[in-house]
Symmetry: C2
Subunit: 364 residues, 2 copies
């Protein structure tokens, strides 16, 4: 629908999903004079508190989607698992950005890996798994190890099984739920890194500096910039990210997760996963860059030019998970820290409640 539409200050941007990412998108939109309309089934969505308009309805409620679409100039989303029919229905009325193709490839690990291969970026070897027999065969090819992941709806380590020896593979397809899956080669990587890349309607791309990510219990704990990689590796990361968004004719911000591998051949990167949205590992940009990932996403989906991804400071982002958030007072007493809290009604174990950005003078 009117795929080249550009917004004007005062227009309304529609956001599917009312969690912290939707909230921070709405905040960036407002800072630049746009209104936000957040659509989310959860009546306690944190994004509602900072948005001019909101709708509480299931993503399948066609009448609610129609009213929503009629009230906004563009629709974007905070999560990649937007139901396909929802996106298709909206896109017939109002532009949906980043767009249907981005959702397609990121909702299915097999499609994603095929697309990444086609885009010419390096990824770990993988196999399409639809049965235990497929798994047994692939495990043999991969030398007895691998990571088995459901094709759809996996996140934060959910929907995956590690296969470190032949016995782990026995019955693994059923243990994962007998659903379509992929087996990934098990990579000995030093750490996960990520690149946040933005692309606007005119095809201009820019990427933020690569960040080094540290996970605890399969949930992102910290992202650190600079990442401690060579200039060549940093450049290669940006190049790969740009290839990925360009091949999808993508509009908006994407998070590209990669494995950093160090072996006798030197340093190299393998793309692990893409997220067609703002990304937790890019929250450091709020306090270490003039233009944050949220600003860039809003600018791009509004049909506006993206801005500079330059960084003025070094940064460490730390997630406040569950009762970590009770330490907000200590964060306020740290002169290098900025506190970000999401206004969630209830603190729960494992729930992302906020984050802290600590900045320092730029060293590299």
């Amino acid at each position: 629908m009117s795929a080249r539409a550009r917004l004007t200050p005062g227009d309304t941007i529609g956001i599917l999903g009312g969690g912290q990412l939707g909230r921070m998108l709405a905040q960036s939109a407002a800072a630049m004079g746009l209104k936000a309309h957040v659509f989310c089934p959860d009546p306690n969505s944190p994004a509602f508190d900072v948005s001019a308009f909101h709708t509480v309805a299931p993503y399948e409620d066609i009448a609610a989607l129609d009213r929503f679409a009629a009230s906004v100039s563009v629709v974007t989303y905070e999560f990649e698992n937007v139901p396909g029919p929802t996106a298709t229905h909206l896109d017939a009325i109002v532009p949906v950005r980043p767009g249907a193709r981005a959702l397609e490839v990121s909702q299915d690990r097999l499609f994603e890996k095929r697309y990444l291969t086609e885009a010419g970026v390096s990824i770990a070897a993988f196999a399409d798994i639809n049965s235990q027999a497929d798994l047994d065969k692939a495990i043999e090819v991969f030398g007895g190890t691998g990571v088995l992941k459901t094709r759809r709806f996996g996140y934060d380590g959910k929907g995956q099984l590690m296969i470190r020896k032949a016995e782990d593979a026995a019955g693994a397809f059923e243990r994962l739920g007998s659903v379509p899956a992929v087996l990934e080669e098990l990579i000995g990587f030093e750490c996960e890194v990520s690149v946040i890349v933005a692309r606007d309607l005119d095809g201009t791309c820019a990427s933020y500096d690569i960040a080094r990510n540290h996970h605890e219990n399969h949930i992102l704990k910290t992202s650190t910039v600079p990442a401690g990689v060579s200039e060549e590796t940093a450049r290669a990361a940006g190049d790969m990210a740009r290839k990925i968004v360009t091949g999808l004719d993508y509009v908006g911000v994407m998070g590209v997760e990669m494995f950093l591998v160090r072996d006798e051949a030197g340093e190299r990167l393998l793309v692990n996963e893409i997220a067609p949205r703002v990304h937790n590992s890019g929250h450091w940009t709020q306090d270490a860059c003039l233009v944050s990932q949220f600003d860039q996403h809003v600018r791009a989906v509004a049909g506006w030019p993206i801005g500079s991804c330059d960084r003025h400071s070094d940064a460490v982002m730390e997630n406040l998970i569950g009762f970590d958030a009770d330490g907000w007072d200590a964060v306020l007493r740290d002169p290098s820290a900025q506190l970000h809290l999401y206004g969630k009604a209830e603190t729960r174990e494992g729930r992302k409640m906020g984050h802290v950005n600590r900045i320092s003078d730029k060293t590299a």
Copy 2:
């Protein structure tokens, strides 16, 4: 009322006034996990779009004030002309910060000048004017020149008359409206500068770097940091600002406007005016500091410790006044610029519609 109350994330901060300052305060509150309740008579208040709650009612509506006070943990304001009875009524129910004394001195130029003198900071000579005879006498003492200002409700050059020669004084008291006034000595200053200072419940003070301000048509056009003053002058500015807030047992952010005078004796500062709130000349802190003036004010009035006022970048803030805001697209194309728009429904000549912060590497 419970003057030491400290808020917890999830609590609600009440804000009197729904303009751009209230809006940016509400945005900072939300970023730190607080909810905002904005009280403003104007149903089109820009702050409503980014606040969890709002009330549309006159400041004199006691029932509305009671409901408002019952729904918040603290009240602050975006403008110094909060009616005295409004502040008094609220303060009997819930803490009002920065507090009644700050309003008293900043609502009346005579009280303000008397307080500043008492606080031991330098100001221009002044006289209390209640008649044309008072004016004639004072003008003679001041050598035939001066600036005549109403004691109350002056802003952006309104409510004042310049007296450059004896004839200007004739009938000036009546021309100003025959209201209580002050005559200020006419100072030959190089420019206006300002300091944004913050003070928390524990009495800790911090001030941002001094900014050099440039006005057009009596409205602030730009604020530039560094201001191009000596280290001694910069230090003196911070010291004066701290004296002023400490003497008032002030809690929150204050804008302190000063004249920079350069003569044979060197560089010196005269305090011109104080504003018991966040200040237009402090908007640069949003993009050149980790903790902005809005963050600091929210922290202080929430009973939280204030943060660092350190600056990571040089900055020039430019107001977008009236149809300046139509140039938003060019701002987006400037890689050094961050666009801030207030979401006002209607563009009008002389109306503050937004601002731009341009940052560059820190030089001093």
